[in-house]
Symmetry: C2
Subunit: 620 residues, 2 copies
């Protein structure tokens, strides 16, 4: 089956998807998270998009919810409509799940943008012989609530004041005067929010005055060159004399490169970036701040610092405005870091009356459960399988990765970039395993069933793909002639085992948290899937393999990269620094390994429960 091209405006991002893909999913593929307050049930009508080229037939729900005039203009619901042919779709700003929306409208009414960096323009009268006023005191007279400042600022002050004829803009970070500029520069105020992932770095440049997103960029975390995961990076720090310095400077160098690109793309001067807000897991945040993470490498997994840290950006070599600062999120525990705090902030679970479950599947898998009364968190070593590591032909979700798999008579799959595949990424693996379970090719124990056992139960084409090697069965996903490498792509028995371990870790973790709060699965009002991976995962497949609780699909919501959106929120609203501090302090942490029943639950969750169960909607 040929993929079809979808172009999203106004960003002009192209993606290739299988016919029958929902708009919301295609958009996620393009990195655009569409807001679905109703959970994708097609009832709220908030996820409106406009088909401006090509054709998408309206569904019955759409005909009910959307007026005729709008229907004719191509307005559709992203959670309802399926893409079957190439088209261009416009996603209006108000449909996007973005920090701007959260901040300006949110769920609880309008909130003001109150950036952590704020500017005041002032025309000062200067000093006179009769009434001598120190340079700094002139500014103090204008700023009612007082401020602190640094000797570097005072050193520049007298010259700037006189060169600008006492017409200056004062730049404040919270209650600190961080810069003084000639003339009126109040309109110029930028910041960058960073998601410091173990594998991926995402930077978002914002206009701090308006909240507008100006550019986004992503890079591999260069620390990956030295060590793929958190534990091996910690070990590198322990074993190599300059390990910490190496990992720290690699990261900083890459962030500076991203800042340059962000500024270039938005045609702004990086010297007008005053603020960086960064969220990552505890180890990444330690490395970012050049804090030694070695105690995270052994029991009791101690972190040096839990609280949020704000320092001058130049102190760690980040090249923005020379007086600019960086805020690094508070952590919760050794393996539940600032990215999770950012996720809680962005999803507002800590304010919710209803019980919610947040699952952030990055290289690690963090889980948060609860509501405004009580929140608890846990961490599982779930990630590598989902990010392609330890999977025989696994790869990251980048060009050439199989990201979607459907098994009917034969194998259908979609490849990122619409090229011949190199391998498969996490969602592709989950899809493949989910589909193999559905067809009975994998049994409840996770074993790939012998060809002869399936004879007559599945198509010949599928049957021929089960290939035995060294006493184990593997599933031939792509024949060699269709791959980039001209070598076949397999789902091996070992790959299935890796996925079993990962999903068992997460689902056993969820079970422990439920027990801890004495909550039943059905009391969960919403499951929030976060992380780069969370964007693309198919709910039906996730439920099929038992990765997430078996709740109705409308209760499962994709919330995108909440590490980024939480960081953006703090950038735009300084008050939230206190809020994240409270989240960090008040969110409990459960160390799963200390729970007597964890191992038992883990073993239970290794079992696949839903075999031979057909999807109602395989695209869901």
């Amino acid at each position: 089956m040929n993929s079809v091209k979808v172009t999203f405006s106004p960003e002009n991002i192209e993606v290739y998807v299988l016919p029958g893909t929902r708009i919301i999913e295609a958009a996620a593929r393009a990195g655009i998270i569409i807001e679905t307050p109703c959970g994708g049930k097609g009832t709220c009508g908030k996820c409106k998009v406009q088909v401006i080229e090509g054709k998408i037939e309206p569904t019955s729900t759409e005909i009910k919810l959307i007026n005729k005039y709008d229907l004719n203009k191509g307005i559709r619901l992203a959670c309802e409509s399926f893409i079957n042919s190439s088209c261009v779709i416009h996603i209006p700003q108000e449909s996007k799940h973005s920090v701007g929306r959260i901040l300006t409208t949110g769920l609880k009414g309008k909130k003001e943008i109150k950036p952590s960096i704020w500017k005041i323009y002032m025309e000062l009268s200067g000093s006179t012989l009769e009434n001598q006023t120190a340079d700094l005191d002139m500014i103090r007279k204008v700023v009612p609530n007082g401020f602190k400042t640094d000797i570097y600022i005072i050193r520049k002050l007298s010259e700037i004041l006189r060169e600008s004829e006492f017409k200056i803009t004062c730049v404040f970070s919270g209650n600190e005067l961080i810069s003084i500029e000639k003339g009126d520069t109040t309109k110029i105020n930028y910041g960058v929010a960073f998601d410091i992932g173990t594998t991926t770095l995402v930077g978002t440049l914002l206009d701090a005055n308006t909240g507008q997103e100006l550019s986004v960029t992503a890079r591999m975390n260069p620390q990956s060159i030295y060590a793929a995961d958190v534990i091996s990076r910690i070990n590198l720090v322990i074993q190599e004399k300059d390990g910490l310095e190496k990992l720290h400077y690699q990261l900083i160098g890459k962030m500076n490169e991203m800042i340059d690109e962000l500024a270039n793309n938005a045609s702004i001067d990086k010297k007008n970036i005053y603020k960086i807000v960064a969220a990552g897991n505890s180890t990444m945040q330690h490395l970012l701040l050049k804090l030694n993470p070695k105690n995270l490498g052994s029991v009791p997994f101690s972190i040096s610092v839990r609280e949020g840290i704000e320092i001058k950006a130049k102190k760690i070599g980040i090249d923005i405005n020379s007086d600019g600062s960086i805020f690094v999120f508070p952590n919760i525990a050794g393996f539940v870091g600032g990215d999770t705090v950012a996720g809680i902030l962005a999803t507002e679970i800590h304010k919710s009356k209803d019980i919610k479950l947040l699952i952030d599947i990055g290289t690690n898998g963090e889980i948060v459960l609860g509501n405004k009364n009580k929140l608890i968190s846990a961490s599982t070593a779930a990630g590598p399988a989902f990010e392609g590591a330890r999977i025989s032909q696994g790869m990251r979700a980048s060009e050439g990765a199989i990201e979607k798999v459907i098994l009917n008579e034969d194998v259908k799959f979609n490849v990122i970039g619409n090229i011949a595949p190199f391998g498969l990424c996490g969602t592709g693996l989950i899809d493949a395993v989910a589909q193999m379970l559905r067809k009975g090719i994998i049994d409840t124990t996770g074993r790939i069933v012998d060809r002869k056992e399936l004879q007559g139960k599945i198509s010949e084409k599928l049957l021929n793909r089960i290939i035995e090697k060294d006493g184990q069965n593997n599933f031939l996903l792509v024949y060699e002639e269709f791959t980039q490498s001209k070598r076949p792509i397999f789902i091996t028995q070992k790959d299935v085992r890796e996925l079993q371990l990962a999903k068992a870790a997460i689902s056993a973790g969820i079970k422990i948290l439920l027990k801890e709060l004495q909550i039943e699965e059905k009391e969960i009002s919403e499951i929030l899937l976060a992380g780069a991976f969370g964007n693309f995962i198919r709910r039906s497949s996730a439920k099929q393999i038992g990765l997430i609780p078996d709740v109705p699909s409308e209760k499962v919501r994709f919330v995108g990269n909440t590490a980024s959106s939480g960081a953006e929120m703090v950038l735009l609203s300084n008050n939230l620094k206190e809020e994240v501090e409270l989240i960090s302090k008040n969110t409990g942490y459960i160390e799963l390994s200390t729970k007597a029943d964890f191992n038992e639950l883990f073993m239970e969750e290794m079992i696949f429960k839903y075999v031979n169960k057909e999807d109602k909607n395989e695209n869901e």
Copy 2:
């Protein structure tokens, strides 16, 4: 007349004074300021000292005030007794005017030492797998009121905690955690108070826990090599590209040298010095902080910063504990700096019910007048004459300087170090001019009178010392055979003019301040003479030349180096940082040049009023 040697114990400092010198004055010569709450009237009995070798006859006042037993033990009042022969005098701690006394007993009852640096020893329990606590949070649990800290500290924390088995001492500066040390180091806590004079630097090492003075050292301000006074240093900064850096680094280098010496002399490790408190005039404080003082060089004499500045000492290259800090005093105006604020703090004029006048004669002359209701200040360019600059044979008050002059039948003088003189210092000049006025050798206009006009009125010996040159008279103070250089030492007509200008500036300044507060001279309850120079000046001579108002001598009190003692006080009592901030804010500044009547008053004060008036007590 031969000088006599006086040795002061326990310091073992030797000085040579003329017979007939009061003990209090000889002690001042040795750098020891004796407390005289009654103003030296011989009524309070607070200035008790003990003659332990040699003999000093008790005066009638002493016989009245001191019991027989003590009299026999050699107890005398320093303000009463005269030294006539070599002796050893013990000055008990309680008689010394020192910061320890001010702080611990003061005038208003006992005050606690509460150093700005405080330490807490703690034995922490560490983190457990079940109850994970971030390293920094362990400390937060122990410190009730919270604190801020720096990333550098957090970087070291985890290692120190574990190497010390969680037994650590936390070092705080105010509410900032500045250092973490292994084990219990609470007893080790040192600080240095610096008086940053234009000409002289004085450093005092204190035990911050006890207030005990451990060592003192003084140096020439090395900036003097480049430019002697404040104005020429400002000009150097304006004219030379690296002028500011040069002056700044010269000063810092010298301070580091002094810190090394202070630590060596007291046998302590300079890494245990956590705090520097420095007070100087506005320009010196700007140079210390590497703030450009160029706007102090022209109207309206703007300073960059008025308020006190606290920064990490290493930020300006001061080499103490790597986390130690320096507090630089707040200023009042361009030419009334932190040294004056320190002077107000040390003398507590800002708390006084009675009107007091503080005159700090250093290289500049600062004046403060008022009481707790209102304080105003002014600055006069008085200093150079008093420090020997611009005086033909002037020199600093160091070895070989004539520091005291008496004219009777002939000239008697005392030389610092009891050697042949090189020249004369400020007090010597004031003495000489005062004595010449008394003898009528100088008339009211300041003219050195012709020899023939004085014929029969003064001794032949004195008459022969008036020598005409180029139409002006000079006074031959020391014949060439008695000087070091084998060239005669003169008081020239020009020297008298310089002194006239200086004294006119100060006394006109005092008059303006009195007018400003609508106060009569007689309402001044006390005149406080501060500064290195203030220690040695003779009240009778100062009044004779009209430098200070003609009040009874008991109202004139020497308060020593108040820049140092104010700095020491802040070092030992962190609360005083707020107090000096209030002093700086609330002390008014009068720019004398803007006062219409200043020039007229200045001309009036050029006149010497007291000619041919005999001293009652020439040693006073």
